[in-house]
């Protein structure tokens, strides 16, 4: 009973703290907007959840299923970014050190945080359910509301997904090497796999996101009523070609067995949380134990100077060279070198090795493979470098040292941006040289634009948010939809022949200029924020 009380109060405090944050409010607003756009009116020329141009009429069953699958698929990515700061916040605020001195066990703490994550995400799902109901009535294709048809898809699909997201976020926060940007990247890859697996799952054990039964039912009924439309439903955005065809979908004949099978994922979420409690440092930040003996020895050697007493020198004998020059002169080349050093220092050797392999593959593989496969991965690799742009001063609390220098905007902003562009061009140099040599001018131009766009997006988002999370989220989502899945509109690097032919990359040039202005204003705002 005491444990339950502790759990409840931990969850409550954490939930209230987070739900009152501005970021939660913004996420809710964006979610409502997405629901609005995901159920387009009959006169709009695009479809979302559909099968070869046909969709169900907007009754409770269809609206509930469409939004529930959308939430399970798409919300599961931003949801992770939204909740992956439960432990981090306790570290930053210092509350963790107080918690560490209480009898609270690792398991209880992790469970409290996991439940708080889950309740927070389910609050958002509740908003989505209400939005779905509102949209059913707004679109007015069917005014009869069936609460069970509307809500059950959420309970089947979205609820276990959110429990999984809540526990995976806690696990990633607890495992030292996954707690930062690398973890976000790993989660993104897992998320991509989950979508692939779930949409084609034959068995509930493969259906992490709980999509398969809903999509299969949708497709079989659609094919039954309109045999000329064969295939499977897809959830995404596709243009409506020709007349819109709708059918009256009766929903899924839910059974308890289906729910029991699906809810086995809740047990998986608990196992993940239990695993997280094993890794959780319990606010002993010195605990992170190196994996091997060699690494331990290296770490000990590194720490040696800390343990040794400081040799007291005689300061009277040390004369400082007077500085008589007038400081403040811009030295862009030198500052650029320093920025590059700051960006690239501290990366593990294997990072450079893989970057080098991608450069070589860009040079030697056929142009088609380079464009479609090598290029996307080449520019996924430095995502953590870019995501630090404009955020270092806040993350490492160096703003007081940097912003008291002369002309902090003029002297540093452009070199910081250039640094990001150089990283893009350096990592993409294999493909760029290849395209230049083989006379692929269009592909080269697309890469040139892409290499400007990515760091500019990073700088703009980093400078306004003060951290790299939003960039990671937006960039990885764009990368997944555009360069990887070849959705032309977001293919900013020309990774598909179709988008190259359409000249999509050219639109990203003015976007880059606008983003650069936003980034510049962001830097000015960062400096003024302390005023």
């Amino acid at each position: 009973m005491t444990s339950l009380r502790i759990l409840f109060h931990m969850m409550k405090a954490d939930y209230l703290e987070r739900v009152r944050r501005y970021s939660f409010f913004i996420t809710v607003l964006i979610s409502i907007f997405i629901v609005f756009k995901f159920l387009p009116a009959s006169d709009e020329r695009y479809l979302t959840l559909s099968l070869n141009g046909i969709r169900g009429i907007y009754n409770s069953a269809w609206v509930g299923s469409a939004i529930a699958t959308l939430a399970s698929m798409l919300l599961s990515l931003p949801a992770f970014f939204l909740v992956k700061n439960a432990i981090e916040r306790d570290v930053q605020t210092g509350v963790g050190q107080i918690i560490a001195t209480t009898p609270l066990t690792r398991w209880m703490y992790i469970m409290g945080k996991m439940w708080s994550n889950f309740v927070l995400l389910m609050s958002m799902v509740a908003v989505l359910i209400v939005s779905a109901l509102a949209m059913q009535l707004i679109r007015g294709e069917d005014y009869s509301v069936d609460v069970a048809d509307l809500v059950l898809p959420f309970l089947f699909s979205t609820l276990p997904t959110m429990a999984l997201v809540a526990s995976v976020a806690i696990l990633f926060e607890s495992v030292p090497f996954l707690s930062r940007g690398l973890g976000n990247l790993v989660y993104f890859i897992l998320w991509g796999f989950s979508i692939k697996l779930s949409t084609a799952a034959a068995h509930p054990s493969e259906d992490v996101l709980g999509l398969s039964p809903i999509l299969k039912q949708l497709s079989s009924q659609a094919v039954e009523r309109s045999p000329q439309h064969q295939g499977h439903h897809i959830s995404g955005i596709s243009p409506l070609k020709g007349e819109l065809v709708t059918y009256d979908w009766n929903g899924i004949p839910w059974t308890i067995g289906m729910f029991l099978e699906r809810y086995s994922w809740l047990a998986a979420a608990l196992v993940i949380a239990a695993l997280a409690s094993l890794f959780f440092h319990r606010f002993d930040l010195m605990r992170a134990a190196p994996a091997s003996k060699k690494a331990r020895a290296r770490k000990a050697a590194k720490e040696e100077p800390m343990a040794q007493p400081v040799i007291v020198g005689n300061e009277a004998t040390i004369k400082l060279t007077p500085y008589t020059h007038s400081p403040g002169r811009s030295r862009p080349a030198l500052t650029l070198l320093m920025e590059l050093r700051l960006m690239l220092k501290g990366l593990p050797l294997w990072w450079y090795l893989i970057a080098l392999i991608l450069i070589i593959l860009g040079l030697v593989l056929p142009v088609g493979i380079v464009t479609e496969v090598v290029l996307p991965f080449t520019w996924l690799w430095p995502v953590l470098i870019w995501s630090a742009m404009g955020t270092n001063e806040t993350s490492y609390r160096t703003h007081q040292l940097i912003f008291t220098a002369m002309h902090p905007v003029r002297n540093q902003f452009i070199v910081l941006w250039l640094g990001g562009v150089i990283v893009a061009y350096l990592t993409g140099s294999g493909a760029m040289v290849h395209f230049a040599v083989t006379g692929e001018g269009e592909r080269l131009a697309a890469m040139a634009v892409g290499g400007l766009f990515i760091p500019t997006l990073a700088a703009a988002l980093g400078m306004w948010t003060g951290n790299g999370k939003l960039f990671q989220l937006i960039y990885m989502l764009m990368w997944y939809l555009g360069p990887l899945n070849k959705w032309g509109v977001v293919d900013f690097m020309g990774a598909s022949t179709q988008s190259l032919e359409q000249g999509v990359f050219l639109y990203y040039l003015p976007v880059t200029i606008i983003l650069l202005i936003i980034a510049l204003l962001g830097r000015v705002h960062q400096i003024k924020r302390y005023h």
């Binding site: 100077p305 040799i311 007291v312 300061e315 500085y323 002169r329 030295r331 700051l342 160096t398 007081q400």
Partner: protein
């Protein structure tokens, strides 16, 4: 070389003030800025270092208004914030080189000064170690080195001895004294002993207002005849401890030796003693608090 602060205020949302109509005139030497926690010391430091702008008043450096032209002071400013971070993957040399480039220092001289400064702050031996492997005190010394990179004419140090061990603390005080010759050093602290040995001038602030600006000897003179000392048995001490302004207590075999600040003799057994700077500080802060409550 003169820094003049005229009627500076910093107002926050909800009618609360960080500073209220504060004026100071500062010449070469070390100005010790003393005050309790939350007195407005760090706000003043952040305004002087151009991080924050005042909501009212004017600050001029050699006649130039720095609120309008912050770069006028940034050229000659060295600033050690109370709370700052470092880039963990850089070493001390790289971090200082980075800051030197941001500040537009001549590379050759900057490199020479970085070497000398690392010797001066006793970090030369660990200069190649990543900053995340250094202790808190060592990082604080990196902060001291960066504040001196450009040979500043105005050196602002906010709670600089936090995290330093006693030996390093003394070294730092000596360093400040040495540096103060041809520049203005502003040392903000709530530890009186930090300014006792170094300050040529002291400003006491409380509740965002200036209480007094004077030399250490003037402050001591003002507290003469107001510091009393006597020994009390344990139980008697428990009775009076909340009634008097106590500067210090020392436990002894015959009871508790207490040091009290009072205008009149607090007890028949008490005798007048020479004030210390800590006594004077307490005297002024207490007088200011009483004035504020009237």
């Amino acid at each position: 070389m003169e820094l003049v602060i005229e009627g500076v205020s910093k107002k926050y949302k909800g009618d609360s003030y960080g500073l209220r109509d504060l004026s100071l005139q500062i010449g070469t030497g070390v100005l010790g800025l003393l005050g309790p926690n939350g007195a407005g010391k760090s706000t003043l430091m952040r305004i002087l270092s151009t991080i924050t702008k005042p909501t009212a008043g004017k600050i001029s450096w050699n006649g130039v208004d720095i609120t309008k032209d912050p770069n006028a002071i940034r050229r000659i400013l060295g600033y050690l914030p109370q709370d700052f971070g470092v880039y963990p993957h850089l070493n001390a040399v790289e971090f200082l080189e980075y800051l030197a480039s941001i500040r537009g220092l001549e590379p050759a001289i900057a490199r020479k000064r970085i070497d000398e400064l690392l010797h001066l702050v006793n970090l030369y031996e660990v200069r190649k170690k990543p900053l995340n492997s250094l202790s808190g005190g060592m990082k604080q010394r990196v902060g001291i080195a960066q504040a001196l990179l450009n040979d500043p004419k105005l050196l602002i140090v906010d709670e600089p001895t936090v995290g330093l061990d006693p030996e390093e603390r003394i070294r730092f005080r000596n360093l400040l004294s040495e540096l103060s010759g041809e520049r203005i050093v502003m040392l903000s602290t709530h530890i009186v002993s930090d300014v006792e040995s170094t300050a040529t001038d002291i400003a006491i602030v409380n509740q965002g207002k200036l209480v007094i600006q004077a030399t250490p000897s003037e402050l001591l003179a003002a507290a003469v005849g107001k510091v009393w000392e006597w020994v009390l048995p344990g139980p008697a001490w428990m009775e009076i401890r909340n009634q008097l302004l106590i500067s210090s207590t020392v436990q002894g075999s015959d009871g508790v030796r207490i040091r009290v600040i009072a205008d009149a003799q607090p007890s028949a057994e008490s005798r007048l003693v020479n004030p210390t700077l800590e006594d004077a500080y307490l005297y002024f802060i207490s007088a200011h608090k009483q004035l504020a409550t009237v």
